[in-house]
Subunit: 232 residues, 2 copies
């Protein structure tokens, strides 16, 4: 019998690659996506569903948690997503797209899900190289979460250990894409853009699009998704 893994899946490029890695490491996949009031949830969740089908996961949960209730900024109520920032700028400053404690909340819920299904392995596609400087993507943060997880659950009292897998954390975006291609990912299924148009086409100008475009360029591969202005 295959071991079970919970994989956080947003429908984006990184988390989809994480699903592929977990699948390739012979886990039975339980993916979880969050409907948290994010602006592009329609397209993200549509992609996450496609990815779940593509990888034939055992179960795909869409968990509703409306972070807008707490107020504050967030991908949830931003009117002006930053556009056309330089890579240097992207990596130097945490942008307004930061959502307070997002990964902590998502990992906590994934942890509960893991205990419910009897899994000790959680995959998250965080990356600390080609990223937006979010604090909850760094290796030291993940280590602290794993330490917490091993004190938090009933199953850990009897000595079972939780492992938080971060297969992409030290990869460049181009290396993530190459890894995914190796494991058969169809990146045409994924959604990356913070600010898609009404047809779900990527803007090509938000931080997330810029990092993605750079990744495909460096990997010398064509990005299969459609951008708004047919610019790439």
């Amino acid at each position: 019998m295959l071991k079970k893994a919970v994989v956080l899946s947003s429908g984006g490029l990184d988390s989809t690659t994480a699903v592929a890695v977990a699948k390739n490491q012979d886990f039975e996949i339980y993916s979880i996506s969050f409907d948290y009031g994010q602006k592009s949830r329609k397209y993200e969740l549509r992609s996450a569903k496609k990815v779940a089908r593509f990888f034939n996961v055992k179960e795909h949960k869409i968990f509703k948690i409306d972070l807008r209730t707490l107020g504050g900024s967030a991908l949830t109520d931003i009117i002006n997503i930053p556009k056309r920032r330089s890579l240097k700028h992207i990596q130097r400053e945490i942008p307004v797209t930061y959502v307070p404690a997002r990964n902590t909340i998502f990992l906590s819920i994934a942890l509960a899900y893991a205990e419910v299904i009897g899994s000790q392995d959680i995959y998250i596609g965080v990356n600390a190289i080609d990223y937006s400087g979010y604090p909850d993507c760094r290796p030291e943060y993940i280590k602290a979460f794993q330490n917490l997880a091993n004190l938090a659950l009933k199953m850990t009292i009897s000595g079972k250990k939780i492992k938080i897998h971060t297969p992409l954390i030290n990869l460049k975006k181009s290396e993530i894409i190459e890894l995914g291609i190796k494991f058969g990912v169809d990146y045409g299924l994924t959604h990356t853009c913070y600010d898609p148009d009404e047809k779900g086409r990527a803007c090509g100008e938000c931080d997330s699009c810029i990092l993605r475009i750079k990744g495909f360029k460096q990997a010398n591969l064509k990005d299969p998704i459609i951008y708004k202005k047919n610019m790439f």
Copy 2:
């Protein structure tokens, strides 16, 4: 200007005492309660609202998060709440009322709330003496969460620190009650029972009631709430 504190408030005896302690330590109170699909949510949330009014909190959020979505046990879908267990039994074995990762999820959301309002102080009424053996009530767990919190947020990158306050963690139930009385808590507002009747009256026989009844007895005080059978 008073400093802000986020206080987790379930409407129960412990968390209500935590609200009183935070208030007494001169914080402006932002309380947060969770509507997570628990069986007794109607009475818990009613009590939490009364407590918020009683202590004149600045803001009281009721955050909806349906943990039943994940399946599994939980206060959420238990048919038979354990009854009339001895104190020894209560403290030796984690009961079916355990909800996977509950405090981790609740603290994570409280953490997001703290960052949104600009607070560095979170109060939680966990107790590791007269409790049900839940792993996420122990001092080592709280310490690990605080460590995580200090790596998780944008504000901690600029050097701000989060403190998780657990004023009750080493107190006996009777000492918690005495402390609350000193700070003016009206325990008649609180709801403790896992299995109330249709009028919200406590059963007097679940673990939670047993610990409460013992506390009032040891403190030599009369419990102002009404029990089902008028037994106490």
